[in-house]
């Protein structure tokens, strides 16, 4: 440290020093603190030291030392500032200066700072212990997971022995050989490196919690409904069944695979906007697109509840069904679970392009980025799934019902009824006051904005764009056909031929590439375009593939069975029915008859695919946006006509009998 001028020139202005609240100090301490603080203020204002001593009573010889203390860096990264003026405050670590006494093992005899002394003597040991404690991989050894203090102690002793520390020196002279000191050292090291050691040593939940509560506000703020939605998938924590009619005409219950649930939850209001139950062990891109489409275009309507006394809460439901104007509203950002990232290309290319939202893929395993959807799933699990007799609980150790699978069948926990419970549960969720919304319900929170049209407006689909726009899959296919063999032009998608009268007579198109618009929910037909974008109309699937509505997934499932030669599909059979029959006749390995859970789940999925989508058959098909609007007779009439039509010509009804 140089002269007073030099020190003051480079130091932080005294007004910015960390301050101290002395309200809780006793009088003597406060007086001493204030004197020292004032002394520092004067010292840094170039008041002569003699005058400082006179005015504050602080000895002029201690002033440079005190100033040095004040400018020392504290643990929090700032200088000590006025904190250094607190009487008896230790600004450095305790460091023993005297030699250790020779005391017989087991006696407590002034060993304070022994470890510090040893580590000062062997700085590399301190470094090594730190690395072990922090679980750093860089120390060129396989890191032990969650190292215990006793293990660190063993490492410590071994290092000391290697350094030649004899049995007459600390810690070998003590009863526990410095174990307590190492425990304390380890605790302090872990606490000092809070975030780092949590990441290295603790589980995923702890790691996820690390990123919240940092005191730094998120850059992404969502202050209105439909600013952002969170989408996540959740595996139902219960076994469910489906009713199965045996060939003898009896009804029995078959257990299904565990089902998945995907939900779209509004970030601001926590309202569930849409959800879907996936009858499949894993969620795929189609399911995500379906739930996005439901949220953007769907209208919620109460289910027909078959469970006696089950009721929807008054005014409860999903916003698209109960809030006027919310139907068809778009959102601006979608917060996805990173675990769904492998489905990103479909969501990017189709849904994002159609609805124009930004996508925020959260980091993997960081559920805290989507608090609402996770909380909603938690709540649904607590209020519904974990209370079913067939619950699987959160894990084998927590909450799993004994013989859950058997109980699902015994108590007939049917999927169809669970879906009803689920719908009511979501309706209740949306109608439950929430502390985060000042005791408003999620629906009321959205209504609050809707009722103020001067401040808030829903973003809707531009007029004229069809509801299905953007959810279509585009791919290209080469036109096949063979003039010599007399095979008319066609294209092939997933092993099935497609053509229409126009393509079938367009031999010149053989070998060219067509662009296909595929609706993966309904593979009976595809829409074809030439490479230059001109439309060729709908191409219809050959044979019975063009009759029964089926999704691409079903087609692929059937195709894979054909490949395995498990079933034979002739052009005279309806492939869907063959597949259903195949699934239904599969016998389980156990004594009970009927399909196994996997097949039962697949049957239910198929049925829902045909049944649920039966409604969408009636929905108007997407009308392609024409490049230029078609010319119409009525418009042509506005132009100038060259000839003059005779007046009073054809103004009377003509009888034709």
């Amino acid at each position: 440290m140089g002269t007073r001028q030099e020190v003051i020139k480079d130091s932080l202005p005294i007004d910015l020093w960390p301050s101290v609240l002395d309200a809780e100090f006793d009088d003597e301490r406060r007086e001493q603190f204030r004197a020292q603080s004032e002394a520092m203020r004067l010292y840094f204002s170039f008041v002569p030291v003699g005058e400082i001593e006179q005015r504050t009573g602080v000895s002029q010889t201690s002033l440079p030392r005190l100033a040095k203390r004040c400018l020392k860096l504290a643990d929090d990264g700032r200088i000590h500032g006025f904190r250094a003026c607190i009487p008896y405050l230790r600004t450095g670590q305790y460091s023993r200066t005297t030699e250790l006494p020779h005391a017989p093992p087991g006696e407590r005899a002034g060993m304070a700072g022994a470890l510090g002394l040893v580590l000062k003597r062997f700085p590399d040991i301190e470094q090594l212990l730190g690395k072990y404690t922090k679980n750093e991989a860089k120390r060129l050894a396989v890191p032990e997971h969650k190292l215990r203090p006793c293990d660190l102690h063993r490492v410590f002793l071994r290092c000391l022995a290697d350094k030649g520390v004899g049995p007459t020196e600390w810690p070998f002279t003590t009863k526990y050989r410095g174990l307590r000191s190492i425990q304390q050292f380890m605790k302090e090291t872990l606490d000092r490196n809070f975030a780092r050691t949590t990441i290295a040593r603790e589980d995923s939940v702890a790691r996820a919690h690390l990123s919240v509560g940092t005191g730094i506000f998120s850059l992404l703020n969502f202050e209105e409904p439909y600013d952002a939605v969170e989408i996540d998938a959740y595996k139902m924590e219960a076994h469910v069944t489906v009713a199965f009619r045996t060939p003898e005409g009896l009804e029995t219950d078959l257990r299904l695979d565990r089902l998945n649930l995907i939900a779209v939850v509004d970030r601001f209001s926590s309202a569930v906007l849409a959800y879907t139950v996936v009858y499949r062990p894993e969620v795929n891109a189609d399911d995500i697109l379906k739930v996005i489409r439901d949220a953007a275009n769907g209208t919620w309507a109460p289910m027909d509840l078959t469970i006696p006394d089950l009721r929807y809460p008054k005014g409860g439901g999903l916003p698209s069904g109960v809030i006027e104007g919310a139907q068809g509203a778009f959102w601006s950002a979608t917060l996805f679970d990173g675990a769904l990232a492998h489905l990103s290309s479909a969501v990017h290319a189709r849904a994002r392009a159609a609805l124009g939202f930004a996508i925020n893929w959260g980091p993997v395993a960081h559920f805290e980025r989507r608090p609402n959807v996770e909380r909603t799933f938690n709540q649904i699990a607590r209020t519904l799934f974990k209370r079913l007799p067939s619950t699987t609980g959160a894990s084998p150790q927590s909450g799993r019902a004994d013989e859950a699978e058997r109980k699902a069948v015994e108590h007939r926990v049917r999927a169809a009824e669970v879906e009803q419970l689920l719908d009511v549960a979501f309706a209740q969720h949306n109608a439950t006051p929430s502390e985060g919304l000042s005791q408003l319900t999620p629906l009321e929170a959205i209504r609050y904005f809707v009722d103020r049209p001067e401040r808030f407006e829903f973003r809707k689909r531009p007029a004229g764009t069809p509801a299905e726009a953007g959810f279509k899959q585009y791919e290209s296919a080469v036109v096949r056909g063979d003039r010599k063999a007399g095979r008319r032009p066609y294209i092939q998608v997933d092993r099935v031929h497609y053509t229409n009268p126009v393509l079938a007579t367009s031999g010149h198109l053989i070998g060219t590439r067509l662009l296909l618009e595929v609706d993966e929910d309904d593979m009976r037909q595809v829409r074809a375009y030439l490479a230059n974008g001109a439309e060729l109309g709908f191409l219809k699937a050959h044979g019975k593939w063009g009759v029964t509505k089926h999704s691409r997934r079903t087609r692929k499932a059937i195709n894979s069975l054909i490949t395995k030669r498990l079933i034979t599909v002739t052009t005279f059979d309806d492939p869907m029915q063959v597949y259903m029959r195949h699934l239904a006749t599969q016998k389980g390995k156990r004594s009970s008859s009927g399909p196994r859970p996997k097949q039962a789940t697949e049957i239910v999925r198929l049925k829902k695919e045909v049944g649920v989508n039966a409604q969408s058959i009636q929905a108007p098909p997407p009308v392609p946006e024409p490049v230029s609007p078609p010319r119409r007779v009525i418009d042509e009439m506005r132009g100038r006509l060259l000839s003059e039509a005779p007046s009073e010509f054809f103004t009377k009804v003509k009888n034709r009998r």
């Binding site: 007579t505 030439l530 108007p620 042509e636 054809f650 009804v653 009888n655």
Partner: protein
């Protein structure tokens, strides 16, 4: 046409007389042609083409918009207005396999030619050209108008033959104008021909495509109703309009279908659903009005009014909604 302002005190005929005449009334079987605004507009465009001796136009629309009815009316009107133009209406059917004879057979069948079943394409071609030339010469025509209904059923070979036929007539100094009516699939055929570089076909028959709408607006619908109220007559020469025929007493008291224009249009528009953008199909409009006239005729009285329920029931009887669901 009866005078609307005349001080008629009693209806021109009784209910019994009406029931006797009903069997032959055009409304019972839909045997009448309405001068719809759409038809008038289309005719104005067609007569412009004929007058200026242009090559032709394609009108396309979904089924039941009144295309065929319009084609028939246009044929009759053209014959009436242009006595020295030879006009034929040709109704197509698809050929099971590409055949150079098919188009020529259709032309000859339209002319009721006795030798239309001949197998030899060259002979058929010669016959068709000769037949048209003779018939045109008979009325001193220099122009031949071919009205083609359901043109989308023709394939590339048929259209190619039509081009040859057209060229041959031109060479023989007979100008051909082809006015076609088709379903929207014709646009796909056009795309395919464009890709195939078959520009000679497009240039002659498919270059000008116009969308043909059903009843597009409430105003048009009003003028349809006016036709029933005022501009129709049965029995011929009696001066009795269709509305008057079914509701003589109410008509006398001022009842007109046109007074219910708004409520009827609203019901039809609602039932048409998604296809309303192309206009409400004429077929269903006529069925609705005929249903009203026929089903309520016995309720004829001086204070007769049409209730919304009756209008809805008539729209439902026209099956417009199920038709719209099928199309959408």
């Amino acid at each position: 046409m009866p005078s609307r302002t005349g001080p008629a005190s009693k209806p021109l005929f009784s209910a019994d007389m009406r029931e006797k005449t009903l069997g032959s009334h055009p409304v019972r079987g839909g045997d009448y042609t309405l001068p719809t605004p759409m038809m008038q507009r289309t005719y104005a465009l067609v007569r412009e083409q004929v007058w200026a001796r242009r090559t032709g136009t394609v009108f396309y629309a979904s089924p039941r918009m009144g295309k065929t009815r319009c084609a028939i009316a246009i044929r009759d009107l053209l014959r009436q207005e242009f006595p020295n133009v030879y006009v034929t209406l040709l109704s197509t059917r698809p050929s099971p396999r590409p055949s150079t004879s098919h188009m020529l057979r259709l032309i000859l069948e339209a002319e009721s030619h006795v030798l239309s079943r001949r197998p030899d394409a060259d002979l058929l071609f010669g016959n068709a050209v000769a037949d048209i030339r003779v018939k045109a010469a008979r009325i001193g025509a220099k122009q031949y108008v071919l009205l083609i209904d359901e043109m989308h059923l023709l394939n590339d070979v048929d259209l190619q033959q039509l081009v040859c036929f057209h060229n041959q007539l031109e060479l023989q100094d007979l100008r051909m104008t082809a006015i076609s009516f088709a379903q929207p699939e014709i646009l796909h055929r056009r795309t395919s021909l464009l890709a195939n570089n078959a520009r000679q076909i497009i240039a002659r028959f498919l270059s000008d495509t116009l969308q043909f709408d059903g009843c597009a607006s409430e105003g048009d619908f009003g003028s349809l109703l006016r036709s029933y109220d005022l501009a129709s007559e049965y029995p011929e020469g009696s001066g009795i309009t269709y509305t008057q025929f079914f509701f003589p007493i109410a008509y006398l008291a001022g009842f007109r279908l046109e007074n219910y224009r708004a409520s009827m249009w609203e019901a039809l528009h609602r039932a048409a659903g998604s296809i309303a953008a192309q206009g409400v199909p004429m077929e269903h409009i006529c069925l609705t009005i005929e249903e009203l006239l026929l089903s309520l005729r016995r309720q004829d009285s001086p204070d007769f009014v049409l209730s919304n329920e009756e209008i809805d029931a008539a729209v439902a009887a026209s099956k417009l909604r199920s038709f719209s669901d099928v199309l959408s």
